[in-house]
């Protein structure tokens, strides 16, 4: 039953649409609004249900190009996950450690991890970019970025 990718995605979307629709029916009603806040969500939920069923039963066969697109080597997927983990760590820590330090560390390690070998250039960019951005945002645009541990 779940032989093709479209069927699996169709099923997933069907579940999402059902949950969305269930939640739409939980929305409160007010007597004097001609169109209440729940009308559009209900319509969207139903539309999504229909579309997910249509995708599930669609006979469209994946083209070779489409198949090639989703054929990602496991190793590459791990690289991608690692980059996402780095971004996650950045978000977690940067308000505490500070924008300049965290950004410098991120750019250096992320570029190095993705295979950039000229470490001298890497260090220069990792230091100049956060400094430049800090100056533009804080002094030119008046948008404050977290200082963190640096005493600026």
């Amino acid at each position: 039953m779940l032989s093709t990718m479209n069927r699996r995605i169709g099923l997933l979307l069907f579940i999402i649409a059902s949950v969305y629709l269930y939640l739409s029916f939980q929305l409160p009603n007010y007597p004097y609004a001609p169109v209440d806040a729940d009308v559009i969500p209900k319509g969207l939920g139903i539309l999504m249900l229909i579309l997910s069923v249509a995708l599930f039963f669609s006979r469209a066969i994946e083209t070779e190009a489409e198949k090639a697109k989703r054929n990602i080597p496991k190793k590459e997927l791990l690289v991608l996950l690692a980059v996402f983990a780095m971004i996650f760590l950045y978000i977690l820590l940067f308000e505490m450690v500070g924008f300049i330090v965290m950004t410098a560390v991120f750019i250096f390690f992320c570029s190095w991890f993705l295979g950039y070998e000229k470490w001298k250039t890497n260090i220069i960019v990792s230091i100049l970019f956060p400094l430049g951005m800090y100056i533009i945002f804080v002094f030119a645009l008046g948008i404050s970025l977290p200082n963190g541990i640096l005493p600026i």
Partner: protein, 499 residues
Amino acid sequence: MDAFQGLLAGFQVALSWEGILFVLIGVVVGTLIGMMPGLGPISAIAIMIPITYGMDPAPALVMMAGVYYGAVFGGSTSSILLNAPGISGTVATAFDGYPMAQQGKAGKALAIAAIASFFGGTVSVIMLMLLAPALASVAISFGPPAYFALMLMGLTAISSLSEGSTIKAMISAVAGVMVVTIGIDPQTGTQRFTFGNVNLFDGFDFLVIALGLFALAEVCMLIMNRKNRNLSDDQKLGSLKVTKSDLKEMSGPMTRQSFVGFMLGVLPGAGATIASFISYIFEKKISKNPEEFGKGSIKGLAAPESSNNAATSGAFVPLLSLGIPGSGTTAVMLGAFLVLGVQPGPLLMSDRPEIFWGIIASMYLGNIFLLVLNLPLIPYLAKILSIPRPLLISLVIMFSLIGVYSISFNTFDLYMLLVFGALGFAMRVFSFPAPPFILAFILGGMMEQAFRQSMTISNGSLGIFVNSPLPLALIIVSLLSLTIPAFIKWRSRRLSLKR
């Protein structure tokens, strides 16, 4: 204020030192980001939006417009030099541009692309100048039902014209509207799908969606392709010279395709990508020597380049005069307007003439800057293509994170950026087009409002959408735009099965 006075006021904005400076910044940044294979105009605009906070709206929007057409202009460089289109609107440019570069005529190809782009851009600004005010004066009488129907048409058009499966494009669009419904309903104050989380009360900021679905997802694709070749240092561009006979050869395609591109740009759903393909095919069909196409034909290079730039200015017609974007890119442009507190639409021309005419006037200037940037300066600009991919990836990630943080000062939005980045990547991998999603996200709130206003006017009767001719016609067109392509696909499959 009549059009002539308006245009004069516009040139006052565009030719002030501030105007000139910001047009220049916009087109330079646009060209550079547009050149990077994998980073498109949507990412370029979204990355630049935080810079405009607190700026005066007129120069800020002049700059953002410059980023957009600059990106389309710059996209051709990497199509020609690397056979890796900078943006989707310049895919067709590579068909003849790359073969020319392989024959050692890279410089000439770049020069032809620049001249064709300049021509297409300028012709289409003239048409924009004539058409936008006319459309705005008609649109001023549109009521909520007509607006609802117009937006519906925009969404169905982009879904049916998207590459690949129409069902997937429609799912993308419906999902975009579903995401907008998260937050406090502006009309009744009801909390929808917030699960009591304070961070969700205002819904998602469009920048989170735009940077996630585009910039971050494009970064993911860059990570996958990080080993693709860069521009090598010793690559020779050759002479930039274009002879008189070249100019003569390209004049026909340039003129024709500027008009074709402009018209496709005005229509909802089409835009630069589709315009460039149609123009390429158009010129190949009418050419006396179609076999030259794909082997470095000057006509095959000039046609898509005039067309995609003409389509870009064309796309400003519905945006400026109706306030309704027709494509993913103009949807993000609308976001840039709204961030600055400017509502485009039929009233823009009379209420904020300096913005309406300032943008139009600045495009003349911007196209001249782009010609200068892309003709004599191109050998230096192209150096940016030799930036190592790993470094580029880290920097784009940082730009996206800073952009989101500087609007909300809230790490919750940064985590959401990551979530939408993953979603955008998954959509690319499983062939769900992202432009319908962003357009639906931008239009969704406006559509719901227009729908509910219409229903309030009609006291709850759906008849208001079919009783007057304009909404009815637009709704019929919307339904047809979804059913006709599906019907054609179904027929062609039946025919092929019979055989």
